[in-house]
């Protein structure tokens, strides 16, 4: 689905990532870990076409991102759900409208049937906040709303960048539970986090592989954390 082949990325001076190869197979569950500033967010951005590699090749659904037009990138993002640490919403629209925004912008709002939307909001536990504006929500509620928005298009892949960064432990577990459920439904999941406890908790429920960025390279971490 998403393949990185000997990818490097540099911000002006020097490489942040070098010789990174990664293949996200359908239905796989990966954690991406490493110290702050190691390039976890950069790697995720390479995976949804926000950044272009300075060397190597990134393929989204079999197509080289360098060959893709802006519209191609937009269409592939409709198949990739992204959850940011600082989830970005349109503050003038209600939570329900924000969650269904991906359907709206792709001209598929007809599919946003009220039943589907309320079922989804129910799943993330935000039914009662459907009409609230994003600034009125708590950190945990915003993260769950971002997750709901990321999955409403029925994406093949879900990329989450520190999804539990701003929420307490209980809420972290709840979010992880939702991501595990999505993986059981066949979605490919990649979560960037520095929270090893969270990884341990998740490994009890799902066969997750852990990737670690160290010295600008990507390593497959051992079974013991």
């Amino acid at each position: 689905m998403i393949e990185l082949d000997k990818v490097a990325h540099s911000y002006g001076g020097g490489d942040l990532l070098t010789d990174v190869s990664l293949r996200l197979a359908p239905g796989s569950f990966h954690f991406l870990t490493g110290p702050s500033g190691a390039g976890k967010s950069t790697l995720l951005k390479l995976c949804y076409g926000e950044l272009l590699p300075s060397a190597g090749q990134v393929r989204l659904f079999g197509r080289d991102v360098r060959q893709m037009t802006r519209d191609d990138v937009a269409r592939s993002r409709q198949r990739i759900g992204v959850v940011h640490q600082d989830c970005q919403f349109l503050d003038h629209l209600s939570l329900a409208e924000n969650v269904s925004l991906p359907l709206t912008v792709s001209g598929r709002e007809a599919e946003a049937g009220d039943d589907n939307l309320s079922e989804l909001l129910n799943w993330v536990g935000l039914s009662r906040q459907a009409d609230a504006l994003p600034p009125q929500l708590s950190g945990g509620e915003r993260q769950r709303a971002a997750l709901a928005r990321a999955v409403i298009m029925g994406p093949d892949v879900i990329l989450a960048d520190e999804p539990t960064g701003n929420v307490d432990w209980e809420m972290s577990l709840r979010l992880m539970q939702l991501l595990v459920e999505l993986n059981r439904m066949g979605k490919t999941i990649l979560i960037a986090t520095h929270d090893l406890n969270l990884i341990r908790a998740a490994k009890a429920q799902v066969a997750a592989r852990v990737l670690r960025i160290k010295d600008r390279r990507l390593h497959l971490a051992g079974a013991n954390l």
Partner: protein
Amino acid sequence: MSALGKTVLALVIGDVQADRVVPPTGFTVQLTVFTSAAMAFLAVFALALSMASGRLADRWADALARTATVRISAPQGQMQAQTDAVMAILWTTPGVADPRVLSAEEQRALLEPWFGPDLPVDRLPLPQLIELTETEDGFDAEGLRLRLAAEAPGAVLDDHSRWRRPLVRAADRLRLLGLVSIGLIALATAAMITLSANAALSANAQVIKVLRLVGARDVYIARAFVRRFSGRALLGAAVGTALGMVAVALLPGADPAGGFLTGLGFHGAGWIVPLLIPPLAAFVAFWATRIAAFRMLQEIT
């Protein structure tokens, strides 16, 4: 044409959803509407000016080009003989049609505006005027002057070109200036819309980023802004055009003698022309915003 039709249709019906995703903006909306109205108001006057001077140039060029006058100044006794001689020459000159001796009443009517109605014309040593029209081919003015000088020394040919040509040229130039003004107004409108669209795009950079993140294509994002600005330009220009047309209609009526300033305005079907200003403003706004939006979107992945 069908693409334009669809654009207009899309502007009228609109994509309410695309509109909703961009937060409403307050004060700048009114500025855009106001500027667009002011520009349309000015455009109506530039249009009225260029159409009026166009009519004037055409009228002078057409009506006066085909006429000329022979003026005979002779002592009382010789007047009739010279007039007959001139008429004989005119009848036999190729290119001259319908020479006509103006009657005393007609000459008095011509002088009335200057000397009043009670002028004793018959007691004044007035020259005799002969009016003639040119045929399509025209006549040789120099040749005619020579013949007149030989046969009737008191006769002078005036083919009006001496004062007509600079007037026609001035009227033509005025029409050109009017058209240049309309062009400048259109460009200024485009510049103004581009500036305010850029301001709106910058103010909404975060919104645009979110939209790109959730998979919106450029054309979807651009449409939300394009619709908004085209609508404002259309509304403003409609109001400005309406006010401008009312102002032109309320100008003092045209003087039958064809005065220039009082002739400023639209005539008959000419009233349809200013109605093109609002759709034109919307068209300019459409492209200005679209180009600004796409240029800005290039900077966001």
